[in-house]
Protein backbone atom coordinates (compact mmCIF):
# COMPACT_ATOMS: atom_id res chain seq x y z
CA UNK A 1 0.00 0.00 0.00
CA UNK A 2 1.25 3.47 -0.89
CA UNK A 3 0.17 6.35 1.36
CA UNK A 4 0.13 10.07 0.61
CA UNK A 5 -0.11 12.37 3.64
CA UNK A 6 -0.90 16.06 3.22
CA UNK A 7 0.39 18.40 5.94
CA UNK A 8 0.00 22.12 6.63
CA UNK A 9 2.26 24.66 8.33
CA UNK A 10 0.24 26.83 10.70
CA UNK A 11 0.70 29.17 13.66
CA UNK A 12 1.65 26.87 16.54
CA UNK A 13 -1.54 25.90 18.36
CA UNK A 14 -0.14 27.06 21.72
CA UNK A 15 0.44 30.62 20.48
CA UNK A 16 -2.17 33.15 21.53
CA UNK A 17 -2.83 34.82 18.19
CA UNK A 18 -3.11 38.57 17.67
CA UNK A 19 -5.50 40.15 15.17
CA UNK A 20 -3.86 43.03 13.28
CA UNK A 21 -5.50 46.31 14.32
CA UNK A 22 -6.13 47.26 10.66
CA UNK A 23 -8.36 44.21 10.16
CA UNK A 24 -6.20 42.68 7.42
CA UNK A 25 -5.55 39.44 9.21
CA UNK A 26 -3.86 37.59 12.01
CA UNK A 27 -0.22 38.47 12.77
CA UNK A 28 1.94 35.59 11.52
CA UNK A 29 5.33 37.28 11.22
CA UNK A 30 7.69 36.54 14.11
CA UNK A 31 5.22 33.95 15.41
CA UNK A 32 6.19 30.33 16.10
CA UNK A 33 4.94 28.06 13.32
CA UNK A 34 4.60 24.28 13.34
CA UNK A 35 2.77 21.37 11.77
CA UNK A 36 -1.00 21.54 12.21
CA UNK A 37 -1.79 19.12 15.10
CA UNK A 38 -4.37 17.14 13.10
CA UNK A 39 -1.80 16.63 10.31
CA UNK A 40 0.56 15.14 12.89
CA UNK A 41 -2.06 12.52 13.71
CA UNK A 42 -2.35 11.75 9.97
CA UNK A 43 1.43 11.30 9.64
CA UNK A 44 1.52 9.14 12.77
CA UNK A 45 -1.30 6.96 11.39
CA UNK A 46 0.67 6.42 8.17
CA UNK A 47 3.84 5.55 10.06
CA UNK A 48 1.96 3.12 12.34
CA UNK A 49 0.40 1.39 9.31
CA UNK A 50 3.92 1.08 7.83
CA UNK A 51 5.22 -0.39 11.09
CA UNK A 52 2.51 -3.07 10.86
CA UNK A 53 3.76 -3.93 7.36
CA UNK A 54 2.31 -3.82 3.82
CA UNK A 55 3.08 -0.11 3.27
CA UNK A 56 5.51 0.36 0.38
CA UNK A 57 5.99 4.10 0.67
CA UNK A 58 4.78 7.17 2.59
CA UNK A 59 4.92 10.36 0.55
CA UNK A 60 4.27 13.62 2.37
CA UNK A 61 3.08 16.76 0.57
CA UNK A 62 2.63 20.32 1.76
CA UNK A 63 1.40 23.41 -0.06
CA UNK A 64 2.73 26.78 1.03
CA UNK A 65 5.77 29.03 1.17
CA UNK A 66 9.38 27.77 1.20
CA UNK A 67 9.29 27.54 5.03
CA UNK A 68 6.71 24.73 4.73
CA UNK A 69 9.77 22.55 4.13
CA UNK A 70 10.03 22.53 7.92
CA UNK A 71 6.79 20.61 8.42
CA UNK A 72 7.71 18.21 5.61
CA UNK A 73 11.01 17.57 7.44
CA UNK A 74 9.03 16.94 10.64
CA UNK A 75 6.98 14.30 8.80
CA UNK A 76 10.10 12.76 7.27
CA UNK A 77 11.67 12.60 10.74
CA UNK A 78 8.53 10.84 12.01
CA UNK A 79 9.03 8.16 9.36
CA UNK A 80 7.69 9.31 5.98
CA UNK A 81 9.97 8.41 3.06
CA UNK A 82 9.78 11.26 0.56
CA UNK A 83 8.50 14.84 0.47
CA UNK A 84 6.92 17.17 -2.06
CA UNK A 85 6.52 20.91 -1.49
CA UNK A 86 4.05 22.64 -3.79
CA UNK A 87 5.47 26.11 -3.35
CA UNK A 88 3.38 29.27 -3.33
CA UNK A 89 3.38 32.44 -1.26
CA UNK A 90 -0.29 33.05 -2.00
CA UNK A 91 -2.98 32.34 0.60
CA UNK A 92 -4.99 29.68 -1.22
CA UNK A 93 -8.61 28.73 -0.62
CA UNK A 94 -9.44 25.20 0.41
CA UNK A 95 -10.91 24.27 -3.00
CA UNK A 96 -7.68 25.38 -4.70
CA UNK A 97 -5.62 23.35 -2.21
CA UNK A 98 -7.81 20.30 -2.93
CA UNK A 99 -7.35 20.78 -6.70
CA UNK A 100 -3.56 20.94 -6.33
CA UNK A 101 -3.60 17.84 -4.12
CA UNK A 102 -5.82 16.06 -6.68
CA UNK A 103 -3.06 16.67 -9.28
CA UNK A 104 -0.51 15.16 -6.88
CA UNK A 105 -2.83 12.20 -6.25
CA UNK A 106 -3.18 11.69 -10.04
CA UNK A 107 0.61 11.61 -10.38
CA UNK A 108 1.39 9.52 -7.31
CA UNK A 109 -1.60 7.13 -7.39
CA UNK A 110 -1.59 6.40 -3.64
CA UNK A 111 -3.95 3.73 -2.28
CA UNK A 112 -4.67 5.85 0.77
CA UNK A 113 -4.58 9.61 1.27
CA UNK A 114 -4.40 10.73 4.90
CA UNK A 115 -5.02 14.31 6.03
CA UNK A 116 -5.82 16.08 9.28
CA UNK A 117 -9.54 16.76 9.61
CA UNK A 118 -9.01 20.51 9.86
CA UNK A 119 -6.28 23.11 10.14
CA UNK A 120 -6.28 25.10 13.36
CA UNK A 121 -5.77 28.43 11.54
CA UNK A 122 -8.79 28.68 9.22
CA UNK A 123 -10.67 25.83 10.97
CA UNK A 124 -12.25 24.94 7.61
CA UNK A 125 -12.44 21.13 7.69
CA UNK A 126 -12.83 21.01 3.87
CA UNK A 127 -9.80 19.66 2.07
CA UNK A 128 -10.05 15.90 2.67
CA UNK A 129 -13.70 15.79 1.60
CA UNK A 130 -13.00 17.95 -1.46
CA UNK A 131 -10.04 15.83 -2.46
CA UNK A 132 -12.16 12.68 -2.12
CA UNK A 133 -14.74 14.14 -4.51
CA UNK A 134 -12.14 15.43 -7.00
CA UNK A 135 -10.31 12.09 -7.07
CA UNK A 136 -13.62 10.19 -7.09
CA UNK A 137 -12.79 8.25 -3.94
CA UNK A 138 -14.88 7.35 -0.90
CA UNK A 139 -14.10 9.30 2.27
CA UNK A 140 -13.88 8.49 5.96
CA UNK A 141 -13.62 11.73 7.89
CA UNK A 142 -12.85 12.40 11.60
CA UNK A 143 -11.19 8.99 12.06
CA UNK A 144 -10.39 7.75 15.56
CA UNK A 145 -9.44 4.24 14.43
CA UNK A 146 -8.23 2.75 11.12
CA UNK A 147 -8.09 -1.01 10.56
CA UNK A 148 -6.89 -2.48 7.25
CA UNK A 149 -9.08 -5.39 6.13
CA UNK A 150 -7.70 -6.65 2.83
CA UNK A 151 -8.63 -4.19 0.08
CA UNK A 152 -10.70 -2.00 2.37
CA UNK A 153 -10.46 -0.04 5.58
CA UNK A 154 -12.72 -0.16 8.59
CA UNK A 155 -12.70 3.34 9.99
CA UNK A 156 -14.29 4.45 13.26
CA UNK A 157 -15.41 8.07 13.00
CA UNK A 158 -16.11 10.62 15.76
CA UNK A 159 -19.59 11.97 15.06
CA UNK A 160 -22.07 14.14 16.95
CA UNK A 161 -23.98 11.20 18.43
CA UNK A 162 -20.87 9.28 19.49
CA UNK A 163 -18.85 7.10 17.12
CA UNK A 164 -19.65 5.09 14.03
CA UNK A 165 -17.75 2.49 12.03
CA UNK A 166 -17.81 2.46 8.24
CA UNK A 167 -16.07 0.34 5.61
CA UNK A 168 -14.37 2.14 2.70
CA UNK A 169 -12.82 0.29 -0.25
CA UNK A 170 -9.33 1.44 -1.28
CA UNK A 171 -8.33 3.75 -2.84
CA UNK A 172 -9.81 6.12 -0.25
CA UNK A 173 -9.32 9.41 1.60
CA UNK A 174 -9.25 9.42 5.42
CA UNK A 175 -9.05 12.47 7.69
CA UNK A 176 -7.62 12.18 11.20
CA UNK A 177 -9.24 13.24 14.46
CA UNK A 178 -7.28 13.82 17.66
CA UNK A 179 -7.96 10.49 19.32
CA UNK A 180 -6.61 8.48 16.35
CA UNK A 181 -3.20 8.10 17.99
CA UNK A 182 -0.46 9.89 19.94
CA UNK A 183 2.01 11.43 17.48
CA UNK A 184 5.65 10.64 18.20
CA UNK A 185 8.36 13.20 18.76
CA UNK A 186 11.11 12.28 16.35
CA UNK A 187 14.43 11.46 18.01
CA UNK A 188 17.45 13.52 16.97
CA UNK A 189 18.99 10.81 14.74
CA UNK A 190 15.69 10.66 12.81
CA UNK A 191 15.70 14.44 12.46
CA UNK A 192 19.24 14.28 11.05
CA UNK A 193 18.27 11.42 8.74
CA UNK A 194 15.21 13.33 7.49
CA UNK A 195 17.52 15.90 5.87
CA UNK A 196 18.91 13.24 3.55
CA UNK A 197 15.49 12.00 2.40
CA UNK A 198 14.31 13.16 -1.05
CA UNK A 199 12.32 16.42 -1.03
CA UNK A 200 11.07 17.83 -4.32
CA UNK A 201 10.05 21.49 -4.57
CA UNK A 202 7.63 22.38 -7.35
CA UNK A 203 6.02 25.75 -7.99
CA UNK A 204 2.22 25.70 -7.61
CA UNK A 205 1.89 27.39 -11.02
CA UNK A 206 3.17 24.31 -12.85
CA UNK A 207 0.06 22.24 -11.97
CA UNK A 208 -2.28 24.18 -14.26
CA UNK A 209 -4.74 25.02 -11.46
CA UNK A 210 -6.38 28.47 -11.28
CA UNK A 211 -5.08 29.82 -7.96
CA UNK A 212 -7.37 32.89 -7.81
CA UNK A 213 -9.67 33.09 -4.76
CA UNK A 214 -13.46 32.96 -5.13
CA UNK A 215 -14.27 34.74 -1.89
CA UNK A 216 -13.30 38.24 -0.82
CA UNK A 217 -12.17 38.57 2.77
CA UNK A 218 -13.53 41.93 3.90
CA UNK A 219 -11.91 41.96 7.31
CA UNK A 220 -10.57 39.92 10.17
CA UNK A 221 -11.73 41.18 13.55
CA UNK A 222 -11.16 40.13 17.15
CA UNK A 223 -14.07 38.57 19.05
CA UNK A 224 -15.80 40.70 21.65
CA UNK A 225 -13.99 40.58 24.97
CA UNK A 226 -15.67 39.16 28.03
CA UNK A 227 -15.57 41.46 31.03
CA UNK A 228 -14.43 39.98 34.30
CA UNK A 229 -17.22 39.13 36.70
CA UNK A 230 -17.33 38.60 40.42
CA UNK A 231 -16.35 35.89 42.84
CA UNK A 232 -19.00 34.87 45.36
CA UNK A 233 -18.18 33.65 48.85
CA UNK A 234 -20.61 30.81 49.42
CA UNK A 235 -22.45 27.97 47.73
CA UNK A 236 -25.73 29.67 48.69
CA UNK A 237 -24.71 32.85 46.83
CA UNK A 238 -23.68 30.77 43.82
CA UNK A 239 -27.01 28.90 43.86
CA UNK A 240 -28.91 32.20 44.10
CA UNK A 241 -26.97 33.54 41.11
CA UNK A 242 -27.92 30.43 39.12
CA UNK A 243 -31.55 30.91 40.18
CA UNK A 244 -31.40 34.49 38.96
CA UNK A 245 -30.16 33.40 35.53
CA UNK A 246 -32.73 30.61 35.22
CA UNK A 247 -35.56 33.01 36.03
CA UNK A 248 -34.43 35.34 33.25
CA UNK A 249 -34.31 32.65 30.58
CA UNK A 250 -36.83 32.66 27.78
CA UNK A 251 -39.05 29.63 27.72
CA UNK A 252 -38.26 27.74 24.52
Amino acid sequence: MKILVAVKRVVDHNVRIRVRPDGTGVETSGVRMSMNPFCKHAVEAAVQLAEKGDVSEIVVVSIGPKQSNDVILTALAMGAHRGILVETDAALETLTIAKLLAKVVAEEQPDLVLLGKQAVDDDSNHVGQMLAALSNRPQATFASEIVVKGAELEVTREVDYGRETIAVPLPAVVTADLRLNTPRNAALPMVMKARSKPLTVRPAAEFGVDLAPRLTVEKISPPSERVAGKTVASVADFANAIAGEVNEMEAL
Binding site: V11, H13, N14, I17, V19, V26, E93, L95, A98, K117, V120, D121, D123, N125, H126, G128, Q129, M130, A133, P138, Q139, A140, F142, E154, T156, R157, D160, Y161, G162, R163, E164, T165, I166, A167, V168, A172, L178, R179, P213, R214, L215, T216, V217, E218, I220, S221, P222, A228, G229, T231, S234, V235, F238, A239, A241, I242, A243, E245, V246, L252
Partner: protein
Protein backbone atom coordinates in the same frame (compact mmCIF):
# COMPACT_ATOMS: atom_id res chain seq x y z
CA UNK B 1 -33.24 33.31 -3.79
CA UNK B 2 -34.38 29.92 -2.58
CA UNK B 3 -32.55 27.82 -0.02
CA UNK B 4 -32.12 24.08 0.34
CA UNK B 5 -31.32 22.97 3.90
CA UNK B 6 -30.09 19.46 4.69
CA UNK B 7 -31.80 18.15 7.82
CA UNK B 8 -29.74 16.38 10.48
CA UNK B 9 -31.38 13.46 12.23
CA UNK B 10 -30.38 10.70 14.58
CA UNK B 11 -32.09 7.46 15.55
CA UNK B 12 -35.12 8.32 13.42
CA UNK B 13 -35.68 11.74 15.02
CA UNK B 14 -35.11 15.19 13.53
CA UNK B 15 -32.22 17.07 15.17
CA UNK B 16 -33.51 19.60 17.73
CA UNK B 17 -31.15 22.14 16.11
CA UNK B 18 -33.17 22.15 12.88
CA UNK B 19 -35.49 25.01 13.92
CA UNK B 20 -32.39 27.18 14.49
CA UNK B 21 -31.01 26.27 11.07
CA UNK B 22 -34.34 27.07 9.41
CA UNK B 23 -34.23 30.48 11.11
CA UNK B 24 -30.71 31.05 9.74
CA UNK B 25 -31.55 29.80 6.23
CA UNK B 26 -34.76 31.89 6.15
CA UNK B 27 -32.61 35.03 6.20
CA UNK B 28 -31.57 34.04 2.65
CA UNK B 29 -34.95 33.03 1.18
CA UNK B 30 -37.73 30.45 1.23
CA UNK B 31 -36.45 27.21 2.76
CA UNK B 32 -36.90 23.69 1.42
CA UNK B 33 -35.65 20.90 3.67
CA UNK B 34 -34.01 17.72 2.38
CA UNK B 35 -34.21 14.56 4.48
CA UNK B 36 -32.01 11.64 3.41
CA UNK B 37 -32.73 8.56 5.53
CA UNK B 38 -33.63 4.91 5.26
CA UNK B 39 -37.03 5.81 6.71
CA UNK B 40 -37.44 9.54 6.05
CA UNK B 41 -41.23 9.90 6.57
CA UNK B 42 -41.37 10.50 10.36
CA UNK B 43 -38.36 12.86 10.19
CA UNK B 44 -39.93 14.78 7.30
CA UNK B 45 -43.21 15.08 9.23
CA UNK B 46 -41.34 16.79 12.09
CA UNK B 47 -39.46 19.09 9.71
CA UNK B 48 -42.72 20.14 8.00
CA UNK B 49 -43.94 21.66 11.29
CA UNK B 50 -41.17 24.29 11.48
CA UNK B 51 -42.31 27.80 10.61
CA UNK B 52 -40.73 29.12 7.42
CA UNK B 53 -40.38 25.74 5.73
CA UNK B 54 -41.79 25.89 2.19
CA UNK B 55 -41.56 22.18 1.43
CA UNK B 56 -39.81 19.03 2.63
CA UNK B 57 -38.15 16.72 0.12
CA UNK B 58 -37.29 13.14 1.06
CA UNK B 59 -34.80 10.70 -0.40
CA UNK B 60 -34.85 7.11 0.82
CA UNK B 61 -31.26 5.91 1.16
CA UNK B 62 -28.77 4.76 3.79
CA UNK B 63 -26.90 7.83 5.09
CA UNK B 64 -23.30 8.01 3.95
CA UNK B 65 -21.32 11.02 2.78
CA UNK B 66 -21.75 9.83 -0.79
CA UNK B 67 -25.54 9.21 -0.75
CA UNK B 68 -26.21 12.55 0.91
CA UNK B 69 -23.82 14.43 -1.39
CA UNK B 70 -25.37 12.82 -4.47
CA UNK B 71 -28.88 13.70 -3.27
CA UNK B 72 -27.87 17.33 -2.70
CA UNK B 73 -26.08 17.43 -6.06
CA UNK B 74 -29.21 16.24 -7.81
CA UNK B 75 -31.23 19.10 -6.31
CA UNK B 76 -28.58 21.83 -6.24
CA UNK B 77 -29.35 23.47 -9.58
CA UNK B 78 -32.84 24.41 -8.32
CA UNK B 79 -31.40 26.58 -5.54
CA UNK B 80 -29.34 29.70 -5.02
CA UNK B 81 -28.14 28.46 -1.60
CA UNK B 82 -27.43 24.88 -0.54
CA UNK B 83 -26.99 24.76 3.21
CA UNK B 84 -26.49 22.46 6.18
CA UNK B 85 -25.64 22.51 9.84
CA UNK B 86 -21.95 22.76 10.79
CA UNK B 87 -22.46 19.34 12.40
CA UNK B 88 -20.53 16.14 11.80
CA UNK B 89 -22.84 15.43 8.83
CA UNK B 90 -22.76 18.92 7.31
CA UNK B 91 -18.99 19.06 7.70
CA UNK B 92 -18.70 15.69 5.99
CA UNK B 93 -20.89 16.41 2.96
CA UNK B 94 -20.82 20.15 2.10
CA UNK B 95 -17.10 20.25 1.14
CA UNK B 96 -17.55 17.06 -0.91
CA UNK B 97 -20.49 18.66 -2.72
CA UNK B 98 -18.53 21.90 -3.11
CA UNK B 99 -15.75 20.14 -5.01
CA UNK B 100 -18.27 18.39 -7.27
CA UNK B 101 -19.98 21.69 -8.09
CA UNK B 102 -16.70 23.67 -8.23
CA UNK B 103 -17.88 26.13 -5.57
CA UNK B 104 -15.82 27.44 -2.64
CA UNK B 105 -18.05 26.89 0.42
CA UNK B 106 -18.41 29.21 3.42
CA UNK B 107 -18.77 27.15 6.57
CA UNK B 108 -19.39 27.55 10.31
CA UNK B 109 -21.28 30.78 9.69
CA UNK B 110 -22.24 32.56 12.92
CA UNK B 111 -23.71 35.70 11.38
CA UNK B 112 -25.47 36.47 8.10
CA UNK B 113 -24.75 40.08 7.14
CA UNK B 114 -26.51 40.00 3.77
CA UNK B 115 -27.39 37.65 0.90
CA UNK B 116 -23.70 37.10 0.16
CA UNK B 117 -21.85 38.39 3.24
CA UNK B 118 -21.10 36.09 6.13
CA UNK B 119 -19.05 35.99 9.32
CA UNK B 120 -17.26 32.85 10.47
CA UNK B 121 -14.82 32.23 13.33
CA UNK B 122 -11.21 31.25 12.61
CA UNK B 123 -8.32 30.37 14.92
CA UNK B 124 -10.63 28.60 17.37
CA UNK B 125 -12.85 31.66 17.59
CA UNK B 126 -9.96 33.97 18.49
CA UNK B 127 -10.68 35.91 15.29
CA UNK B 128 -13.74 36.48 13.12
CA UNK B 129 -13.55 36.49 9.33
CA UNK B 130 -16.09 38.44 7.27
CA UNK B 131 -16.28 37.22 3.68
CA UNK B 132 -18.16 38.22 0.56
CA UNK B 133 -19.24 35.34 -1.65
CA UNK B 134 -20.07 36.45 -5.21
CA UNK B 135 -20.42 32.94 -6.63
CA UNK B 136 -23.75 32.22 -8.38
CA UNK B 137 -24.57 29.44 -5.91
CA UNK B 138 -23.62 29.55 -2.23
CA UNK B 139 -22.69 26.43 -0.31
CA UNK B 140 -22.98 27.21 3.39
CA UNK B 141 -22.99 25.64 6.82
CA UNK B 142 -24.37 27.41 9.87
CA UNK B 143 -23.52 26.99 13.53
CA UNK B 144 -26.96 26.22 14.93
CA UNK B 145 -26.06 27.63 18.35
CA UNK B 146 -25.60 31.12 16.87
CA UNK B 147 -29.24 31.43 15.77
CA UNK B 148 -32.54 31.59 17.67
CA UNK B 149 -34.96 28.80 16.74
CA UNK B 150 -37.84 29.34 14.31
CA UNK B 151 -41.35 28.78 15.67
CA UNK B 152 -43.43 25.69 14.99
CA UNK B 153 -47.03 25.21 13.85
CA UNK B 154 -46.38 24.89 10.11
CA UNK B 155 -47.71 22.11 7.88
CA UNK B 156 -45.44 22.21 4.82
CA UNK B 157 -46.01 19.76 1.96
CA UNK B 158 -43.73 16.72 1.71
CA UNK B 159 -42.43 15.60 -1.67
CA UNK B 160 -40.80 12.23 -2.25
CA UNK B 161 -37.83 12.32 -4.60
CA UNK B 162 -37.25 9.01 -6.32
CA UNK B 163 -33.47 8.92 -6.55
CA UNK B 164 -31.13 6.01 -6.80
CA UNK B 165 -27.91 6.99 -5.02
CA UNK B 166 -24.98 4.67 -4.50
CA UNK B 167 -22.07 4.68 -2.07
CA UNK B 168 -18.72 2.91 -2.10
CA UNK B 169 -18.51 3.43 1.68
CA UNK B 170 -20.75 1.18 3.78
CA UNK B 171 -22.14 1.89 7.22
CA UNK B 172 -21.21 -0.90 9.65
CA UNK B 173 -22.12 0.11 13.20
CA UNK B 174 -23.15 3.00 15.43
CA UNK B 175 -21.58 3.37 18.87
CA UNK B 176 -23.98 5.59 20.72
CA UNK B 177 -23.66 7.20 24.12
CA UNK B 178 -26.76 6.31 26.12
CA UNK B 179 -27.78 9.45 27.91
CA UNK B 180 -31.04 11.18 28.65
CA UNK B 181 -29.48 14.63 29.03
CA UNK B 182 -30.54 17.38 26.59
CA UNK B 183 -28.74 18.02 23.28
CA UNK B 184 -25.46 19.77 24.07
CA UNK B 185 -25.41 22.02 21.01
CA UNK B 186 -28.86 23.53 21.66
CA UNK B 187 -29.32 23.30 25.45
CA UNK B 188 -30.17 26.47 27.43
CA UNK B 189 -28.00 25.36 30.35
CA UNK B 190 -24.80 23.36 29.99
CA UNK B 191 -22.60 21.98 32.77
CA UNK B 192 -19.02 21.25 31.73
CA UNK B 193 -16.53 19.10 33.61
CA UNK B 194 -12.75 19.24 33.33
CA UNK B 195 -9.97 16.81 34.02
CA UNK B 196 -10.07 17.81 37.72
CA UNK B 197 -13.34 15.90 37.99
CA UNK B 198 -10.90 13.02 38.20
CA UNK B 199 -12.89 9.98 37.08
CA UNK B 200 -15.98 8.67 35.31
CA UNK B 201 -17.57 8.38 38.79
CA UNK B 202 -16.80 12.05 39.36
CA UNK B 203 -18.70 12.82 36.17
CA UNK B 204 -21.77 11.12 37.65
CA UNK B 205 -21.77 13.97 40.17
CA UNK B 206 -21.67 16.47 37.28
CA UNK B 207 -24.53 14.58 35.63
CA UNK B 208 -26.54 14.72 38.86
CA UNK B 209 -26.14 18.50 38.95
CA UNK B 210 -27.14 18.52 35.28
CA UNK B 211 -30.34 16.62 36.07
CA UNK B 212 -31.18 19.07 38.87
CA UNK B 213 -31.04 21.96 36.42
CA UNK B 214 -32.34 20.13 33.33
CA UNK B 215 -28.97 20.91 31.77
CA UNK B 216 -26.87 19.21 29.12
CA UNK B 217 -23.50 17.86 30.24
CA UNK B 218 -20.21 18.42 28.44
CA UNK B 219 -16.52 17.91 29.04
CA UNK B 220 -13.11 19.22 28.07
CA UNK B 221 -10.88 17.40 25.63
CA UNK B 222 -8.55 16.39 28.48
CA UNK B 223 -11.44 14.81 30.39
CA UNK B 224 -12.57 12.91 27.27
CA UNK B 225 -9.01 11.81 26.46
CA UNK B 226 -8.67 10.55 30.04
CA UNK B 227 -11.76 8.40 29.54
CA UNK B 228 -13.90 10.23 32.13
CA UNK B 229 -16.55 11.27 29.59
CA UNK B 230 -17.67 10.05 26.14
CA UNK B 231 -16.29 11.76 23.02
CA UNK B 232 -19.61 13.29 21.98
CA UNK B 233 -19.57 15.36 25.20
CA UNK B 234 -16.43 17.24 24.14
CA UNK B 235 -16.82 21.02 24.00
CA UNK B 236 -14.26 23.09 22.12
CA UNK B 237 -12.52 23.83 18.86
CA UNK B 238 -12.70 20.22 17.71
CA UNK B 239 -15.74 19.15 19.68
CA UNK B 240 -19.15 20.74 20.04
CA UNK B 241 -19.66 24.48 19.91
CA UNK B 242 -22.22 25.56 22.47
CA UNK B 243 -24.14 28.79 23.03
CA UNK B 244 -26.33 28.24 26.08
CA UNK B 245 -27.85 31.01 28.17
CA UNK B 246 -25.82 29.65 31.08
CA UNK B 247 -22.61 27.62 31.07
CA UNK B 248 -21.35 26.28 34.39
CA UNK B 249 -17.70 25.20 34.11
CA UNK B 250 -16.58 22.86 36.86
CA UNK B 251 -12.90 22.09 37.44
CA UNK B 252 -12.01 23.57 34.05
CA UNK B 253 -8.89 25.73 33.82
CA UNK B 254 -9.82 27.12 30.39
CA UNK B 255 -7.46 26.00 27.62
CA UNK B 256 -7.75 28.06 24.41
CA UNK B 257 -9.26 25.09 22.59
CA UNK B 258 -12.03 24.79 25.20
CA UNK B 259 -12.74 28.53 25.34
CA UNK B 260 -13.29 28.35 21.55
CA UNK B 261 -16.34 26.19 22.17
CA UNK B 262 -18.02 28.35 24.81
CA UNK B 263 -17.64 31.88 23.47
CA UNK B 264 -21.30 31.93 22.48
CA UNK B 265 -22.47 31.34 26.06
CA UNK B 266 -24.45 34.32 27.42
CA UNK B 267 -23.28 33.80 30.99
CA UNK B 268 -20.38 31.74 32.25
CA UNK B 269 -20.21 30.51 35.84
CA UNK B 270 -17.15 28.72 37.17
CA UNK B 271 -16.27 26.50 40.11
CA UNK B 272 -12.52 26.06 40.50
CA UNK B 273 -9.85 25.75 43.18
CA UNK B 274 -7.61 28.18 41.29
CA UNK B 275 -8.76 31.84 41.30
CA UNK B 276 -6.12 32.61 38.65
CA UNK B 277 -7.33 30.05 36.08
CA UNK B 278 -8.26 31.56 32.68
CA UNK B 279 -11.85 30.38 32.98
CA UNK B 280 -12.36 32.02 36.38
CA UNK B 281 -10.93 35.22 34.88
CA UNK B 282 -13.65 35.37 32.19
CA UNK B 283 -16.47 33.99 34.36
CA UNK B 284 -19.43 36.22 35.22
CA UNK B 285 -19.73 34.48 38.57
CA UNK B 286 -17.04 32.31 40.15
CA UNK B 287 -16.91 30.19 43.29
CA UNK B 288 -13.48 29.17 44.52
CA UNK B 289 -13.22 25.81 46.21
CA UNK B 290 -13.19 22.05 45.95
CA UNK B 291 -15.78 20.79 43.48
CA UNK B 292 -16.38 17.54 45.40
CA UNK B 293 -17.41 19.54 48.48
CA UNK B 294 -19.31 22.20 46.55
CA UNK B 295 -21.44 20.17 44.13
CA UNK B 296 -23.44 18.12 46.68
CA UNK B 297 -24.13 21.35 48.63
CA UNK B 298 -25.07 23.13 45.42
CA UNK B 299 -27.49 20.39 44.39
CA UNK B 300 -29.13 20.55 47.84
CA UNK B 301 -29.33 24.35 47.67
CA UNK B 302 -30.82 24.35 44.14
CA UNK B 303 -33.37 21.73 45.19
CA UNK B 304 -34.25 23.88 48.20
CA UNK B 305 -34.75 26.87 45.88
CA UNK B 306 -36.92 24.71 43.64
CA UNK B 307 -35.01 25.53 40.44
CA UNK B 308 -36.24 23.41 37.57
CA UNK B 309 -36.18 23.92 33.83
Amino acid sequence: MSVLLLADHDNGALSPATARLVAAASELGAVDILVVAENPAPIAAEAAKIAGVHQVITVTAPETAETITNSLENLAQRYRNVTASASSVGKDVIPRLAAKLDIQPVTDIVEILGPNRFTRPIYAGNALETVEDRQATHLLTFRASAFRPAASGNDAPIETLDLSVTSAARFLAAHRTDSDTPDLATAQIVIGGGVSVGSAEGFQLIEKLGKTLGAAVGATRAAVDAGYAPNDWQIGQTGKIIAPDLYIAIGISGALQHLAGIQGAKKIFAINTDPESPLVKIADVALIGDLFEIIPQLIAELERLGIKR
